[in-house]
C-alpha cells in the first residue's frame, strides 16, 4: 500500500513537472490576436511614412530596424547586425551585419539596403519623420537639403559590413531602433504602392489589410531567429473603442487589450482578469508646463509653489485610479539617468503660500491653462487641481482645446500654461535637450527654459563617452530641473495591457506597451483562435 502511495506521488510529481514545462515551452502554431487601440484605422503600412504608435504595432511584426529595444534590459540592442565596433573618437561605428536576414520576397539583406533606406528617409521632398534620427549620420543633412545624393557618413565595406559616421557622440541604438528607420527592400518600394503590399524583414509576412478593420500576417519561415516566430498567424485588429474592446476581451475574441483607468480598476477587482495584467511605467511624463513669458511663471518660487500646492498623490489615486506613477522629475524611472533617491514635491499648501508671498504674490494671481479632454492628463485633472490652487490664492481658468491643437499652442507659445503628455525616453540626453537653452520652442522647449548650469551639464554629457559618467551628468541635470520646476510634475504613465491566459511571451515595453516583438509571443493550445 505504502509503495502504491509513493508511486502515485511520483507520478503526480512527474505529471506536474511535465505540465509546468509544457507551460514554459513555446508552442508552435496558433494565431496571435493583438489590438490596435489608438485610432479607427492605420495611417500607413510604409514605416518610413508614419511616426504613429498605432502603425508601429504592425510594423514590429512586418519590419525590422538596425536595432531593437531590449525590454528585459531596458536598452537598445543590435538586431540586423551581429556585432559593432566603435572608433576611438566615438563617432564611427562599423557594423558586421547579419548574413541570414531575408526580406519577405526571399532576397538577402545587405549593407546596400541600409544605405538605400536611410537615404530614402532623408529625401527632403518627402518629409519622412525618421529624418530626425538619420540626421545624426554625417552628410545626411546634405541629402535632405538636396545638396548630395548619397549620405557621406554611410560606407559599404562589403555586403555585410557597414561603416556609419555620426556627427555627434551619441548611442546610435536610440536613433535606429525606431520603426520609422526600418530597412526596406528598394525593389519593392520602387514598384510603387508599397504601403498596400509591405515587404520587410520582420518575423511575419504581410497577408491582408482591410483598411479600418485589421492586418493579417503569416509566419515568415526564413526569419533569422531560429525557431521563431512561434505562431502561424498574427492578426492586428483595430479597436479604438475601449468599451467595445472590453466586451471583445471578455468574450475571448482578442488576446490583448490596453486598459484605461476605469477598466484597470474593474480588471484588478476581477479574480480571473486580474491574473492577466501586464504593467509598465512608460516613457511618458504628464505635466503642466509653465510659460515664463507670463510674468508670475518667470519666478521659480511660483512654479515650485504650484508643485507644493497640489495633492498630486490623491489625484493619481482617485482620478487616475492608480493607473500612473507619481512623477518625481522629468525623466521617467525607466531612464538610466533617473535618480532613485529623489522624492516628489510633498503636498504642503503652507509652504506654497509662503513661496508665493516671497515671490510677491501674497494674494495669488490668475492664469489660463490650456487643456484637452484626456481623462488622465486633461480636463478632469484640471478640474481637480482648481480647488487646490484656489486655496493658495491662485485662480485657474481652464481653456479646453482639441488635443490636436494643444501641440500647436505649445509651439507658438500662445499659452500661459498647458497640460499634456510628453515622450520622455528612451534617450535621456535627447529628452533633456528639450530644456537646453538653444532648443527652440518649436522643437520641444515649450517652457523656454534657459539655465546656464543646465546647459553646461548637458554639454558635458554630450561630450562624455563613458556611459556611466554621462548618465551621472544627466541625473544632475534632471535633478536641477526638479529644483527649477519649469512644470508641475504630475505622473508617468502606467501602461496596462490585459492578456488572455493562453498567450505567453508578452514584453513590458516601456517605450510603448503595445509595441510587442511578436516573434517572442506564443499561444498555447487553450487559445480559441485556430
Amino acid at each position: 500500500m505504502r509503495k502504491l502511495v509513493w508511486l502515485a506521488a511520483v507520478a503526480f510529481a512527474v505529471l506536474g513537472i511535465a505540465a509546468a514545462q509544457a507551460q514554459d515551452t513555446p508552442r508552435r502554431g496558433g494565431t496571435i490576436r493583438m489590438t490596435a487601440p489608438y485610432a479607427a484605422s492605420f495611417g500607413s503600412l510604409d514605416p518610413h511614412a508614419t511616426p504613429r504608435a498605432q502603425d508601429d504595432i504592425v510594423g514590429k511584426a512586418l519590419q525590422r530596424s538596425l536595432y531593437n529595444w531590449d525590454t528585459a534590459n531596458n536598452k537598445p540592442v543590435l538586431e540586423l547586425a551581429k556585432s559593432v565596433s566603435v572608433s576611438e573618437d566615438g563617432l564611427t561605428y562599423t557594423y558586421k551585419l547579419r548574413d541570414d536576414a531575408y526580406f519577405h520576397n526571399g532576397r538577402k539583406m545587405t549593407a546596400d539596403d541600409i544605405i538605400w533606406s536611410y537615404t530614402r528617409i532623408m529625401d527632403g521632398t518627402k518629409g519622412f519623420p525618421g529624418a530626425r534620427y538619420v540626421r545624426i549620420i554625417k552628410g545626411a543633412v546634405d541629402v535632405e537639403k538636396g545638396q548630395a545624393k548619397e549620405i557621406s557618413g554611410l560606407k559599404k565595406i562589403d555586403d555585410f559590413t557597414l561603416q556609419m559616421t555620426l556627427t555627434e557622440r551619441v548611442e546610435p541604438g536610440y536613433y535606429f531602433f525606431a520603426g520609422t528607420t526600418a530597412i526596406l527592400p528598394k525593389e519593392e518600394v520602387e514598384k510603387g504602392n508599397y504601403a498596400a503590399n509591405p515587404v520587410g524583414l520582420g518575423p511575419f509576412k504581410f497577408k491582408e489589410h482591410i483598411p479600418g478593420s485589421r492586418v493579417v500576417a503569416e509566419r515568415w519561415d526564413k526569419f533569422y531567429k531560429p525557431g521563431m516566430p512561434y505562431a502561424d498567424k498574427l492578426e492586428v485588429l483595430i479597436m479604438a473603442e475601449a468599451a467595445a474592446r472590453d466586451v471583445a476581451f471578455r468574450n475571448k475574441e482578442i488576446d490583448t487589450s490596453i486598459l484605461g483607468p476605469a477598466q484597470y480598476v474593474a480588471y484588478r477587482a476581477d479574480p480571473q482578469l486580474s491574473k492577466g495584467i501586464l504593467e509598465v511605467a512608460e516613457m511618458f511624463t504628464r505635466a503642466m508646463q509653465f510659460n515664463p513669458t507670463y510674468k508670475p511663471f518667470a519666478d521659480k518660487r511660483v512654479r515650485q509653489a504650484i508643485n507644493y500646492a497640489i495633492d498630486t498623490d490623491l489625484i493619481i489615486k482617485r482620478l487616475v485610479k492608480d493607473k500612473a506613477y507619481r512623477a518625481v522629475s522629468w525623466l521617467p524611472p525607466s531612464s538610466a539617468a533617473f535618480d532613485k533617491t529623489m522624492k516628489p514635491y510633498p503636498f504642503d499648501p503652507a509652504k506654497a503660500k509662503k513661496l508665493l508671498a516671497d515671490a510677491g504674490y501674497p494674494n495669488g494671481f490668475e492664469f489660463e491653462l490650456s487643456t484637452s479632454q484626456n481623462e488622465s492628463w486633461g480636463l478632469p485633472i484640471v478640474e481637480a487641481i482648481i480647488p487646490y490652487l484656489d486655496k493658495v490664492g491662485i485662480k485657474l481658468k481652464p481653456k479646453l482645446v482639441e488635443v490636436t491643437v494643444l501641440t500647436e499652442i505649445a509651439m507658438k507659445g500662445e499659452h500661459q500654461a498647458f497640460i499634456g503628455s510628453n515622450l520622455t525616453g528612451p534617450d535621456s540626453l535627447a529628452t533633456l535637450r528639450c530644456y537646453y537653452s538653444k532648443t527652440p520652442r518649436t522643437a520641444c522647449n515649450y517652457t523656454s527654459f534657459n539655465n546656464p548650469e543646465f546647459d553646461k551639464l548637458l554639454d558635458a554629457a554630450g561630450e562624455e563617452a563613458d556611459m556611466a559618467k554621462r548618465n551621472d551628468l544627466l541625473r544632475q541635470a534632471n535633478n536641477l530641473l526638479y529644483e527649477e520646476a519649469p512644470v508641475w510634475f504630475f505622473n508617468y504613465n502606467k501602461a496596462v495591457l490585459a492578456y488572455q491566459p493562453w498567450i505567453h511571451g508578452l514584453q513590458a515595453n516601456p517605450t510603448e506597451i503595445t509595441h510587442q516583438y511578436p516573434e517572442n509571443i506564443w499561444v498555447d493550445a487553450t487559445s480559441p483562435a485556430k
Partner: protein, 311 residues
Amino acid sequence: MLPVLARRVANIIPTLAAVVALVFLLFSVLPGSFVSAMNEDGRSNIDPAVMERMRKEMGLDDPVTTRFAKYVTRIAVGDLGTSFRTREPVTKLIAARIWPSLKLVFAAMCFAIIVGVPLGFLAALRPGSTIDTAAMVGAISGLSLSQFWLGLMLMYLFALQLKWLPSFGYGDGGLRHLILPAVALGVGPMALLARTTRAAVLDVLNADFVRTARSKGMTETRVVEWHVLRNALVLVITTIGLQFGSLMGAAVVVEKLFAWPGVGSLLVDSVFQRDIPTVQGCILLIVTFFLVINTLIDLAYVSIDPRIRYG
C-alpha cells in the same frame, strides 16, 4: 421622367459646389493641422524640420486662395487629392470603404423598413390597442437610445452572454458580423418609420376617399391594400429616403464601436488627424449619396402617385 431626372441632377451640382466650398472653408479656419496632429497622442514624435518639410510637401503653407483653386481644379477632374496620412489617393481610400459602408447602411435600412413599417401599420389599424401602445413605446425608446449605448448592450447580450454573434469586426464581411452593427444603426430609423407610418396611415384612414370606398362596400382588406397603403406610402417613402440618405454619415459612431471599416470611421479618424483631403472626400461622398438617394425618392413619388408632377 427624363426631364425630371435632368432637373434633379442639375440641382445636385450647385449643392455639391456649395458643400465643397463650405468644407474647404471650415477646415481652413479650424485650428490645428495634420502636422501638429501627428503629436496629438503624445506618443509620436516629429521634429520641427520634418514638420516644415511636411507642411511644404502638403501645400499647407500656401495661401488659402491658392489651395482652394488647386482643390477645385482637382475636383473638377475627379481627383480628390492625396491623403496626408497615408500618402495614397483619397479615391483609393474611399473606394476601400464604400462597400462595407453600403452593406451596413442597406442592412440597417432593411431592418428599419422590415420592422418599422409593419409595426407602424399595425399600430395605426388598431389605435389605442396594446399593439399600438407597445409599438409606440418601442418607437420612442428607439429614437431616444444612443447608438453607442445600444451597440454596447447588443454586444453584451448577443456576443458576451448568448455567444450567438461576434462582438466586433468585419470578419469575412458576412452576415454574422453585420447583424449587430446593422441593428444598432437601424433602430433609430426603424422607430422613426414606425411613428411616421402610423401617423400617415391614420391620416389616410380618416380621409374622405377611404370612407367612400368603405361605403361602396369594399372589404377592409381591399380598402387598406388599394387606398390606404398606396396613399400613406408617399410620406413613408419620404422618411425612408431621408433616413437612408443620412445613414452613411450617421454610421460614424456604430462603425467606430464595432470596428466596422466604413466611410464613417475613416471620416472621424481623418477629422481628428486633420487629414483634410480625406475629410473633404468623405463628406463629398456622404453628401452625394444623400442627394442621389433623395433624387431617386423624388422619382419614386411620380411612379407611386401620378398626381405628383414636377413643374
